[in-house]
Symmetry: C2
Subunit: 418 residues, 2 copies
């Protein structure tokens, strides 16, 4: 508990870390001169925060404000706080962030928390705290989910996360391995990361352009434990890679990203699906998910581990049982090829095709920026406090696109673009 | 720049650090069950933040929210941010804090920043940034200055501060020495710190009770370079040690504290005064201050070092040239006896009698809680964006109390209570 902050030798390559900071500012955010930046980070990510702060100011940022989360403080709350604390959240802070975004600030999140932090805490308290936080965070999250502003997530190899991904290695080795995996997936392990991101964005754009040209009404997923027809929302639009926010700034919200994705129809999902990777949800690992959909709604849900948390998540609100996103990722993606389970959606979702429970992205509609929430709902867009991705793709999945006339086109075979 | 957070051996005694956390929560704040806590801290104070968080939750805190400042991020702004950044501040955050205080949250600040952090930066930029911050912070500061809520400041021995106080020592030695000085001054170097604070509060209460009984209209300070008559505000009240906030909670805002203090009359200060210790003001050291007052207003100001910053401070607003506080501290106080210059007002002001430029404390009036800002002003209370203490006391200062009939009573002789 008595750990001072020290400048110590570190297994994290400082050159690549600084490239990651540059990519976050120049590619991830496309931060504009005079634009403020609101950043959130684990305290352990301080070295990356400092480099991003530097590059944000070099890019002309007005004010960079960083809000740190500390795993020890979170655990102290679970261990010592009175019961009534778990229905509370810092609504004033989130309202302030929403105001900052409304006034033009960009948003950057550094991921890297220990995915298993809360695995030994009372699941009921975890669910209550998450729900209170989701409700309080909604004004700010809406600005991000509606893509009102340019935003970005990058990752830092926290020791607590690295130990989870590489449990058999010493901490320094684990941190170095995770750092190198993050650097490779984020395309900063090469001399011209910004150029590499340009080429990668062009590739993802051509995939989504093809899907948008086909205008499928549904996708049919078949694989071990999965036979699922995912209806697509009326007027859905596929996106992938760089995308333009409503403030006119073209950014790469997720670094890394390998997916093309769109909005399913909340009422038109039928069949059953099995997860192909564990889902790490706010400190709990949920494994071997098996669900059955009827008319878009999950009517049956099981998991070999974390089933209680899964069912609590599904009970968050009506939209938590319906899909808000469907995404296609080839099995040969670099993250999949790494063979690692990151216990972190930002990485694991880019290793495989996936679906997401909960809130849809209004940008994934033709002319989405001008649609009201009511219009989004009328076209099949789902609404919820949550948005949780989980993987159903693998090297054994086949996907057909179904046209309005019922004809089928192969989209993927054995996990690769057909 | 690439400094990961490590749990390393530390020269800071963990037992005394935990006692300091307990004293902050139980004595400094008297945190109530269900009360939220808003904490600010340098990132280097993480070990103390964690212990305070733990003890706050044990005391029944609702939510503990900590906001970290990072010296490297501050320097990155000065070195890289566009010029227009320096007229900006995170107003949305301070407005949110003001809302949290209005809703019942307590406030704890951990001090310990490098007092010389900005000494090599452009003084004009420092002044602009400070002014923008003062304006933005005003809604939150008013809740603190008006004593609407229970609040507290404690200190952590940051390495960058320790190196300043003990420049001839290795960093670990400097941190250990500063930690021990903080622990002694904060009365946590004994077995029953909470009991020690009870006795200390009783002693300070008896001093202020005597001064309140005397009802002096002015104090006359005489010493090397000082011949100053400080008129006291009409209906002023002396305070010292524990005090009851408007929310009904009795707390010790400053840890350490050795002073009894009240509100001078903003229009009735005459003569000249010289500082007896350097003033460390937001990164600049201001030394050998010499000022002349006419009708309460500083009409002439000099300093051997930092004069430009001093004059910028005085130009903040009209109230910045007038006094908002006068405080009495015996020369034999433990902090004075340590012989150290802490470059930190929280400590240095408790080593000597001092005056403060700027905003007065409305609690330092009889029935102060019920006075409007207009009534405070009518009775002589000063108003300003700033509140800056500086030392005029020493072992050579004599102070007389002047009664309404002009008669004089010795208050201090050679720096000690007469």
């Amino acid at each position: 508990m008595n750990a001072p902050l020290r400048t110590a030798a570190t297994p994290v390559d400082p050159v690549k870390l600084e490239r990651l900071a540059e990519v976050a500012v120049k590619v991830g955010l496309q931060l504009q001169r005079g634009q403020d930046l609101v950043m959130t980070a684990p305290v352990a990510a301080l070295p990356l925060v400092r480099l991003i702060t530097k590059h944000a100011y070099i890019a002309g940022a007005g004010l960079v404000s960083t809000f740190y989360a500390d795993e020890e403080a979170t655990l102290a709350r679970y261990r010592h706080a009175p019961d009534e604390s778990f229905d509370r959240a810092t609504d004033w802070l989130y309202q302030g962030m929403a105001k900052a975004y409304a006034d033009g600030a960009a948003r950057l999140a550094i991921a890297g928390d220990n995915p298993m932090l809360l695995s030994n805490e009372d699941p009921a308290k975890v669910a209550r705290a998450n729900k209170a936080n989701s409700i309080a965070y909604k004004p700010a999250l809406e600005k991000i989910a509606n893509f009102d502003i340019n935003w970005n997530i990058v990752s830092y190899p926290n020791p607590s996360w690295a130990r989870q991904v590489f449990p058999d290695d010493a901490e320094d080795v684990a941190v170095e391995k995770l750092a190198n995996a993050i650097f490779a997936a984020s395309r900063v392990d090469r001399d011209d990361p910004v150029g590499a991101w340009k080429a990668h964005n062009a590739n993802l754009r051509s995939r989504s352009a093809w899907l948008n040209g086909e205008r499928f009404t549904a996708l049919h997923f078949r694989g071990p434990g999965t036979d699922l027809t995912v209806g697509l929302a009326d007027g859905h639009e596929w996106h992938g890679g760089a995308s333009t926010a409503k403030n006119g700034i073209t950014c790469n919200p997720n670094i890394p990203t390998e997916e093309v994705f769109t909005t399913p129809h909340a009422l038109r999902v039928e069949g059953h699906a099995s997860s192909t990777k564990p889902l790490s949800h706010q400190g709990t690992l949920i494994d071997d998910i098996r669900v059955r959909f009827e008319a878009g709604r999950i009517v049956e849900a099981h998991a070999s581990r974390g089933e209680a948390v899964l069912n609590k998540v599904l009970d968050t609100d009506e939209g938590a049982r319906r899909l808000g996103e469907v995404a296609l990722v080839p099995h040969s993606s670099p993250i999949s090829a790494s063979g690692l389970l990151f216990y972190n959606t930002l990485f694991d979702e880019n290793a495989a095709c996936h679906i997401a429970l909960g809130q849809c992205y209004s940008k994934c509609f033709l002319d989405g920026a001008s649609l009201s929430p009511e219009q989004v709902a009328a076209q099949g867009g789902n609404s919820s406090l949550i948005h949780i991705d989980w993987m159903i793709g693998s090297g054994e999945i086949d996907i057909d696109g179904i046209r309005a006339d019922g004809s089928r086109i192969p989209v993927m075979r054995a996990g690769e673009w057909a």
